[in-house]
């Protein structure tokens, strides 16, 4: 337990130290991207990992928030109005998604979320009077909360880090709560949950809303980070990338999506500078993960680490007794 807290404190300190340790702006910006995509993946993971509901339309949710913020800013409103409006737009869109998609589960649910995501993308593309179509909307300034400017790479990183830490904490509280347990129950055994007195649809609806809230927050970070939004950010590939982060890191684990976000963002931005076919590389990495760690990087590494640890502990007395080193794994001999 104390080891866990020490690790947590070390991780937070390391994250705070990033802008000091890395002087190159480019890499600080990459770090900001990782954190903002991590918020997106955390939100998606609530639904995919804990609710067992795979959404392929989540970029539509963050996109709705991004567009609302950009539109309001372009119309001359302040940042407070833009952010509040973006959250409202994100949550309203989420409620619509949930109402339409939660009639189904499994493959049908995926297909409905995919279709809804495509509709939002189509709106961004075609509703030119609001979205400016293919040209997108530029955002002139970043906010300066409490007089702290987010214009610089470092300033933006710090703000993103704070939002990210709040998001992680919110997810941790959520999944350990009674409601989180109810959500996991509806994933594993919906029929029994219903028979126990749970309102399965409503549990899923509120989980979807929480997931959508985090998506909207990520969408706001995204539009301020890029100072621009265009339909591309809402495309199916963006939703699929989010899913890739969740699954590669470890669906249904707290930190899996964060690791997954780091992996995808790094391959996409850093490795792509050296390897033209980064898409191919990302695909290959994903295949390797699915083959060797189907549960994802975080739980997979924990499993390997535990196995190695147990193996090391067993080998010591075994060597002392001059026993053969090739004992069957996982079965401690008396």
């Amino acid at each position: 337990m104390t080891v866990r807290y020490a690790l947590l404190a070390a991780a937070i300190l390391a994250l705070i130290a990033v802008p000091y340790a890395i002087t190159e702006q480019y890499y600080v910006n990459i770090a900001s991207q990782i954190l903002l995509y991590a918020v997106f993946a955390l939100g998606l993971n609530i639904l995919v990992g804990y609710g067992g509901l795979v959404s392929l339309g989540h970029a539509g949710l963050s996109g709705a928030a991004s567009y609302a913020a950009a539109y309001l800013l372009a119309a001359g409103h302040g940042h407070v109005v833009a952010i509040a409006g973006a959250l409202a737009a994100g949550l309203l869109t989420t409620a619509g998604f949930a109402a339409l998609s939660l009639r189904a589960s499994g493959i049908s649910f995926i297909m409905i979320t995919l279709a809804l995501g495509e509709i939002i993308w189509g709106l961004a593309y075609r509703w030119i009077s609001i979205t400016n179509g293919d040209n997108g909307i530029s955002v002139a300034t970043r906010p300066a909360p409490f007089g702290l400017s987010l214009a610089s790479a470092d300033g933006f990183y710090d703000a993103t880090l704070i939002v990210f830490l709040i998001a992680v904490a919110a997810c941790a509280i959520f999944v350990h709560s009674p409601f989180g347990a109810a959500l996991a129950g509806t994933r594993d055994q919906p029929r029994r949950m219903n028979a126990l007195g749970f309102h399965v649809w409503m549990v899923r609806f509120w989980a979807f809303m929480f997931s959508g809230l985090l998506s909207a927050v990520a969408g706001i970070l995204f539009v301020y980070y890029n100072e621009f939004i265009s339909p591309q950010a809402l495309a199916l590939t963006a939703s699929a990338e989010g899913l890739l982060m969740v699954i590669s890191g470890g669906a249904g684990t707290l930190l899996g999506p964060v690791v997954g976000a780091a992996l995808v963002v790094i391959v996409k931005n850093v490795v792509s500078a050296y390897i033209a076919r980064w898409n191919f590389l990302l695909g290959a990495i994903f295949v390797l993960i699915v083959v060797f760690m189907p549960e994802g990087l975080v739980p997979g590494s924990v499993r390997l680490f535990r196995a190695a640890w147990r193996g090391a502990r067993r080998r010591k007395p075994a060597a002392a007794a001059a026993a053969p080193a090739s004992m069957p794994a996982g079965e401690p001999k008396p």
């Binding site: 509280i173 959520f174 350990h176 709560s177 009674p178 409601f179 989180g180 347990a181 109810a182 996991a184 129950g185 594993d188 055994q189 029929r191 029994r192 949950m193 219903n194 028979a195 126990l196 007195g197 749970f198 309102h199 399965v200 509120w206 929480f210």
Partner: protein, 245 residues
């Protein structure tokens, strides 16, 4: 007043009539055994009573309240609990957490996204108490996936008991158990206080006869015989159904 009554209940799957105009009433505190050969429609009858299936016709009454149209998720809140013939538990969780979920189902706490579940001491205590009733208290922390079939059967019963039901529906609680396990479950079931009405399905004639006050024999979805233990056993139609199998 009866604890549970069904009136003219009917259900068909396609052309197959699985519940055919079934009527019966169970008195408060009664132990009712529902028997019938494989495919007689016993489990379907339970699913109609709990609302997991919607009847084509007829009604279900719980303490004289018509609950036919009530969503199944609301019925546990009125004191109806069930177990499943095919084990329907949460394999990723511990035994204790399975039992806690049963308690959570009836608690307003289930909507709370802020509290820490493992700190809800009253829930844990109540879950442990329910597990103690079925003799699983010592292994409460064991993951469900690492328990035996017989233990899972008892978890099923513990979860139903944890909800302190007024009407308890048990679907073949002895299915697949060894002789020793049967004895344990039998004494567990006979220890349930009489303020709980128990309706139990069995497909064997003999397994649970001694636990029953009254017996209803189903065959092809119809009630063939109903009466006291002695009446049903002595009835020639009972022999016909079971010998004709």
């Amino acid at each position: 007043m009866s604890a549970l009554a069904v009136k003219n209940l009917s259900k068909s799957f396609g052309g197959l009539r699985v519940t055919a105009n079934v009527n019966f009433a169970v008195e408060p505190g009664e132990r009712r055994l529902i028997i019938g050969p494989n495919g007689a429609g016993k489990t379907t009858l339970f699913n109609l009573i709990t609302g997991e299936l919607t009847p084509d016709a007829g009604s279900v009454l719980l303490f004289d309240r018509d609950i036919t149209r009530l969503p199944s998720r609301n019925r546990p809140h009125l004191g109806m609990a069930r177990t499943y013939q095919i084990i329907t538990l949460f394999p990723r969780d511990t035994i204790l957490r399975n039992a806690m979920l049963a308690l959570l189902g009836l608690s307003p706490l289930r909507w709370n996204p802020f509290a820490a579940l493992h700190r809800q001491q009253h829930l844990r205590d109540a879950a442990r108490a329910a597990l103690a009733r079925v003799g699983l208290a010592e292994m409460a922390e064991r993951p469900l996936a690492e328990t035996s079939y017989g233990e899972k059967r008892r978890v099923e019963i513990a979860m139903a008991l944890a909800q302190q039901p007024r009407v308890l529906l048990l679907d073949e609680p002895f299915a697949g158990l060894s002789i020793d396990e049967r004895r344990d479950v039998r004494s567990l079931l006979s220890s349930i206080p009489r303020d709980v009405t128990v309706v139990m399905i069995e497909h064997d004639m003999d397994t649970a006869l001694d636990l029953a006050d009254r017996i209803t024999l189903l065959h092809f979805g119809e009630v063939v015989v109903e009466g006291t233990r002695a009446e049903v056993v002595a009835d020639p139609r009972t022999r016909e159904v079971y010998l004709g199998e």
